[in-house]
Symmetry: D2
Subunit: 343 residues, 4 copies
């Protein structure tokens, strides 16, 4: 960590700050004096250092981290990829392409069972479906809640697919006990209380990126879960908010290789929420595979025209059949190319 | 609400969609046929209509709302300003300038009592202070929690200032029973579960704008609280996230007159979090007054250099004395000018 | 085009506005009266209608276009893909993957000839290189200018590769006479004077997307060139500006399928400028291929460590060899998959 | 300037880089070795150093500037405010509030003369009006061009108000010879060729901030003009592009105190373009005064409903009368408060 001091700071002030830093954070501090400014360099473990505290010191102009502010999620300290393995043996992050698919909202037994069957046949390895739904309007459909969870479990029993569903409150953690992967939605990415509680469980957590969050903040939220003792975090890029209005959000595919460089956690891509338009999902799913993603999360609805939420971005089962054929074929080609087998 | 249909939709499809809309939402639907497109116009109460459902219909190209999607927070239906009155008689939204001030975090009894005394003497009407702190890093100071709430109550007893403090979980609502104004932080603006639970209380809620949320979404989150039965919502602009890095966030002062036009709720401004720099707070507080804000929220710390959080943006009590003198003087001039008394 | 009128507008005002619109723009105007608002619908060619003029009418609340505001670049009116063919027979937009590669700046004869030779051998079809360089700082290297153009022509002679280079002023159009493709940089995307002058030439124009421009504005800038009579426009996505700081810009790959839907013009992707990091270029080039792009623009430098500009994002010739092998292999697989030949 | 080296760089590589930096840029380089990284500190004048070149070095991980990358526009080297004085004695930046007002576009003699007369009577010190208009659509009104300039000169003769008008091409500089203040529009803020040509004139240049440009980039564009020898630059904040759609752009008033801290150049605010809505202009003009701005640029049209451009954001002369009364009254109060005369 590097601290640039203000012009005009006195030698005495510098000595006092150096001493305070060394005592407070157990680091060694080097001083380097330039023509127009003096810079302090901190040597040691800086993850626990509070930048705010340093910024507030009278003689401090700027603080710059050299090391990332996270440790457990950091590839530097854990060079090997994290592979999430479910009790049923399904793996995420092992080099294969996992596909999570299903309706935005669970609506009724017939619907979820039909969709589960179809996405399984098309090659999906996981069933997604919302029981608790975050909606911008209090007047929109809010999900079937506990009943929705039961319907998901029924569909799991029928198909064998593990289920992925979103949690909206730490008070529901017990209710999510038999869910296979718990999803934290984009709007709750920095609901730190929820992250802490999830850190105490041993469930795999699918952590969606917040609409206005940097990649570093996203990994820091994973670190919150991991700091609590739960290392099973899957990151999910689902678009960020920009000025562009042609898509619901802007899918940031460069986040995939960046996360893979900075962290050992698996990262998947949700082109349905990112684009908000069914007509773009297949194309962006293909692009996500070629960006190196570990998986895809795709909305599929038996009848998108009558979906209770997000119908505009849902694929029909037939469209999903077409998509999976293409993405698995592209994944095979991609792996061959990256392994040097296809030239 | 206006629905633009795709080119090539058949007469039969149009009749079916019209019938579905009329049945599902109890509205009247007018059809208007242009050269290149057909448009449906919905007449009636459209607040409860789900745009997603309509967008997902096969023959629909675009949906445009003509009316705002909120009702209780909408000035059209409640032309008079909402004035929040606390049991002690303090008012927000009555035309006066309310000032909420105090440290980012409550740190200890001496600190909070000293700051409370100082901000009261400078003219603040409310004491702010964080007991539960949302921090990007799990390794940063997370607040004194329940102990912090007790210290705030002690400072209230000593000074008579009502207290404003942030809640981070619906599980804490009981613990916040004797808090005067409950704050919902920017990162929880769309924590819909929390909003719903707060809607069941009768506490005034200070709702900060999310870092990447539009003004419409912000008002929709107020609507969530109001839909539950709690009309006591105060909006707080605290900066949005943009590409600019010279400030922590970009303070959007045009949000003040826009909110006042669209809604009857009071709106205050937090220049401390918006700018992130103590040196900009006074200037932006003055600008906020001239933008028509109902109040200000300002961070003040007895010793910013040793603050446990956000020290870089905190004012000293002396700086706050200077700020309040200026903002009250400007508010007096501003009121005189707007009333036509000063020319 | 749909015009929502303000509440309280009188019948007389509506009649006057309707008459004014019909006279001014030669359209038919339908009136539709709802419970809370009246809406006008304009039938006819609305491309030439000035939204600003309508917005300014006293009784107008909102104006919404139903049709796109561009015509010549619009796929609706030109369903077939535009294919740009150079005098030497090279094609862009014909379904093949064109690769434009070369250094950010032309530095000297040896450098440009060496890089040209290498990128040609690796499979690039076009040589890119900057002679006039837009730089944020007036103190940075500004390009070799006319001398740089001569060196590019020399490299073309040696390799047969057509040259692509950026123009920074309409005053230089004559000097660019023998350039094969003229590039308009992101910062000049709305330099309308330059666009108009280029519309009078018959040169293919590579139009980069502006850092903060929507896809619609980008196509409108293409329309400027086409309105002048030059239909040879190639669009180039090169990243937009967002809050994310891990990459230089955020590459918006969903722009590719959107542009292909809205317009018949070819669209290529520049992962070098978008990411700003050599280590991300190959991965995002692969993702661009899978997004359906017609081509790639890649920075290659003989010795990135000594490049006079943008070295951090340049590949070495060896890295470029590796990239082209992979992208051509992926393109072949992608084509096979999309054609249904590979399953 | 601080350079963080990659982990694993060898002692020999470090020595070579140090030597290269010292030779190339005539600076002294200090090396500081930490546990996990090595950092170089450059001592001397770093304004001319090319960050790109350094970033591209194999062993470099990050480069951080400690000093601003501009010199002539930097307050550190020119502590006193720049005051622009026109031949007629009008001043900008001397502590008074300058108001530039007039129509978006000059439309005809009667219009411009009438508006000029009215804004003069209301207290404006400068007449603004567009002769060359940057429009997103090639089919929109593009301005009266040379004829517009003549009409502006006529209005100047009639009223004595100096004229401010936008230039769109360096080819027009001669034609702008008798314009008093030449405006560079937001879309041309990084049209570096234009900036260089304007640097060779001695005209005051009003430089609008680009829609997606940081404050640092904006000052760098001023530096371009100043590097050419023309120190008469006035900065104009006019809103930046964000995700918010309630306003045309987001007015960034914190830019005013930041520019004043970083630079000695005057800075004015254009609330008309920033908000795009006439109903918000007065309120944001007042806020701009309280943010410390040196002036305002306001669109006024004799008949906004029939304006050929930007009518929705134009005030009527009567509305402008009201605005100037209020802003001058607020400016007087503001000055009294800041000088300590009003308490």
């Amino acid at each position: 960590m590097i601290i640039v001091l203000r012009q005009g700071s006195t030698k005495e002030q510098q000595i006092l700050l150096k001493a305070a830093l060394e005592e407070k954070y157990n680091v060694t501090v080097n001083t380097w004096t330039g023509v127009e400014s003096t810079v302090l360099g901190l040597i040691g473990d800086t993850v626990h250092i509070d930048e705010d505290w340093i910024s507030a010191q009278e003689i401090v102009e700027k603080v710059r981290r050299v090391q990332e502010p996270y440790k457990k999620a950091n590839r530097k300290f854990h060079p090997d990829n994290t592979v999430i393995t479910l009790p049923g043996g399904q793996k995420i992050g092992d080099g294969s392409l996992c596909i999570m698919a299903g309706p935005c909202s669970v609506e009724n037994e017939e619907q979820i069972n039909y969709v589960a069957e179809r996405v399984k046949n098309a090659g999906a390895g996981f069933l997604r479906g919302g029981a608790f739904k975050p909606r911008t309007s209090p007047y929109s459909f809010q999900g079937l809640k506990a009943e929705g969870l039961d319907l998901l479990k029924g569909a799991r029993k029928a198909t064998g697919l593990p289920i992925v569903t979103e949690i909206m409150s730490a008070a529901h953690i017990e209710m999510f006990e038999s869910v296979d992967i718990i999803q934290v939605g984009a709007r709750n990415m920095q609901n730190f209380d929820l992250l802490k509680q999830l850190g105490k469980t041993d469930k795999p957590i699918l952590l969606k990126r917040g609409l206005a969050n940097t990649i570093e903040e996203w990994i820091m939220s994973a670190e919150y879960i991991m700091a609590g003792g739960n290392d099973n975090v899957i990151l999910c890029e689902r678009g960020i908010r920009t000025f562009e209005t042609a898509t619901r959000n802007t899918l940031d595919l460069s986040a995939v290789p960046i996360v893979k460089k900075l962290s050992h956690l698996p990262v998947i891509v949700d082109p349905s929420h990112a684009t908000g338009k069914a007509g773009l999902v297949e194309q962006m799913a293909l692009a996500a595979v070629a960006s190196g993603a570990d998986g895809l999360m795709i909305e599929v609805h038996n009848d998108p025209r009558h979906a209770l939420s997000d119908g505009a971005q849902s694929l029909t089962p037939d469209q999903f059949d077409s998509l999976t054929k293409k993405v698995f074929a592209l994944k095979a080609a991609y792996d061959g190319i990256m392994n040097g087998e296809i030239i």
